[in-house]
Amino acid sequence: MKRVLIALLAGLLPLTALALSGEEVMKKSQAAFLYPGKDFKARVVMKLVTKDGQERVREMTMLRKNIGEAGGEQKYFMYFFQPADVKDMTFMTYKYPAKDDDRWMFIPAINMVKRIAAQDKRSSFVGSDFTYEDVSGRDIEDDAHTIEREDKVGGADCYVVKSTPKAGDADFGYKLTWVSKANFLPLKEEQYDRKGAQYKLFTADEIKDVKGFPTVMRRTMKNVQTGHHTEVSYTKADYDLGLEDSLFSERFLRQPPRKWIE
């Protein structure tokens, strides 16, 4: 009897795979893109490029630790190397699903740790074309997700998922995400404003396996309306380093341990 059941289930599997809902695709995508490993460390170089090609560089080390399962609570720690006027500045976020984040920053000039307001996840991250949400994720429940169609990006089979904010106060109309069927990473995303005009384009430009986790090592976010774009590359990336919970504290915001930020 058991064997029959297994055979039946096995027979059903391809069907269920086909029948993934838009929400399930986005959940798997979030897990693959923002939650791989128990923890993560990357040296991040962010280039802000104007329409005329003028560049500004922001360089930081980003540390992330998952507290629970994919989709659950996370802690982020960032240390800035560049530009010079924010060198040694650190930034910490406790990210909660379905609740506003807690954020703190350390201002070395006056040696002060400040809790900062964080209700606006749609605001720019350090002046780049990425928002806080683009960096650490948007709650899946905030949008309704439907699979629009299937498509290919650079030869990779993708689901194209349309996500429409459930609440009317979002600053964007909807977004389309090309999610790889193979590894569930978002390979491309188009964000549309409330009038239905495209205003942002995200592309994953280089993907590499790091400790078995497919990782987007280079990505670009372009504001197609202004022509400004931001390129992000990880010059180093690693998973499962054993980051301790105590790292995400005021003590280390003030004195970031060299071994974790270099």
Binding site: D85, R115, Q255
Partner: protein, 410 residues
């Protein structure tokens, strides 16, 4: 002067020594800066028309070797308004970090509490002259020579500070600013600095999603009090720093769309607990409530309400010599800070304003700052003061200035 030369030598030595010690991870950075502030009203008491005019080079050396880390930040500076060489060691310390404790020894900047240019538990020295003369924000704080021990057991974090020698806040120079002086005819003046150690303890932890802290301090007032040798016919004034203990708490957490900050402290005037010595500040309660939020993208708004309450007002009134301005028992101040960022956060327009509802003391500081490149930024701003001639800001009402800061970072 001798001290300055010593610091300069020590700094250069440290930098060279550090560079020679190339095995450890050594990092040298710094900046070149020009800073000028020009009066918009009349002249200074010394006849000049500028509050500030200097060039400055900062060198910062940071070297680490496992649990040990060394940091030295020194400025070579030249003032064009008569002070000449202004070189100083801003910070210079050694850090030792262990698993659940750490130690920092040397000259360091300490900041306690949550206020924005309002100080409740931040008992450490400030540089008010820097604030009023249009210098960059980092010059608001002065380092102290101290040992700081951090201990981090599970249930809370502890920060003990012990400073063997006292360092005062820097008040505006009477040559450059029009300061209220109740006895201008008495020119024989001396300053007596405390020769005892000071110490403090900060304990902090999370309580239900709030950052809570407790502060204890025993030391001295940072700004001097004045005592004439005689009230009837004074011939000499002695400036001194009365003994002070403070006991305080603070909490900050998310409320609605923003961050609420609450802070309170009791200033125990140890030299005059009865409040009957007019030359020593009365014991005081200080309260602060602040709220900061982001109404729209790249715009941040911070509001503060700050109160000082004199504990022994009857005794104060009874002891106050005639002719001196009478302070109200309670002083209420509101402040606002609005900051808008433009051009991918490379252009910042900000305004800080403070208003005392009792004596109408006012201070405005608008500023525009632009990062021309990742290495070069400049700021222009203004300091505007108004109020009664003896008020904290009102006495500076002839000292309004506009300033320029330009910095190249390397």
């Amino acid at each position: 002067m001798a001290t300055r030369a010593w610091w300069t030598t020590a700094l250069v030595g440290l930098l060279l020594g550090g560079a020679g010690h190339a095995a450890a991870d050594v990092n040298v950075s710094g900046f070149l800066q020009q800073n000028t502030a020009a009066n918009t009203g009349g002249a200074n008491p010394n006849g000049r028309h500028d509050k500030w005019m200097e060039e400055r080079v900062q060198l910062k050396l940071d070297a680490g070797d496992g649990a040990w880390r060394y940091m030295a930040k020194g400025d070579l500076a030249y003032d064009h308004l008569g002070r000449g060489d202004q070189s100083e060691l801003r910070e210079g310390y050694v850090d030792y970090t262990a698993g659940s404790w750490d130690l920092r020894a040397g000259r360091q900047v300490l900041t306690w509490g949550l206020g924005d240019l309002v100080f409740v538990n931040d008992v450490f020295p400030k540089d008010y002259e820097a604030l009023f003369a249009g210098r960059p924000l980092e010059y608001l704080k002065r380092g102290i020579d101290a040992v700081k021990l951090g201990a981090y057991p599970e249930f809370a974090s502890f920060e003990f500070v012990l400073a063997p020698s006292f360092r005062a806040s820097r008040t505006p120079d009477a040559q450059r600013f029009h300061l209220y002086d109740p006895m201008p005819a008495v020119t024989n003046r001396e300053t007596v600095k405390p020769d005892q150690a000071e110490g403090g303890l900060r304990v902090y932890r999370d309580i239900g999603g709030w950052d809570a802290a407790l502060y204890l301090y025993r030391g001295f007032q940072r700004t001097p009090s004045m005592r004439p040798d005689s009230l009837a016919a004074p011939t000499k004034i002695t400036f001194f720093y009365p003994k002070l203990a403070t006991y305080g708490v603070s909490a900050s957490g998310r409320v609605g769309e923003g961050v609420l900050s609450l802070e309170a402290a009791y200033y125990d005037s140890l030299d005059d607990r009865a409040g009957s010595d007019f030359a020593v500040p009365n014991s005081q309660t200080r309260l602060l409530a602040g709220y900061q939020w982001q109404p729209w993208e790249d715009f941040s708004l911070g509001l503060q309400y700050y109160a000082e309450y004199m504990q022994d007002y009857g005794a104060y009134l009874a002891a106050l010599p005639p002719g001196l301005p009478v302070d109200q028992r309670r002083s209420d101040t509101v402040t606002v800070r609005a900051t808008q960022l433009f051009l991918h956060q490379t252009l910042r327009l900000s305004l800080y304003a403070a208003y005392n509802t009792g004596n109408h003391d006012r201070f405005f500081n608008p500023e525009l700052r632009y990062a021309f490149t990742d290495r070069v930024w400049g700021a222009v701003g203004a300091n505007v003061f108004a109020g009664k001639p003896w008020g904290q800001f009102g006495q500076l009402s002839h000292d309004d200035n506009v300033y320029v800061q330009i910095r190249y970072e390397f």
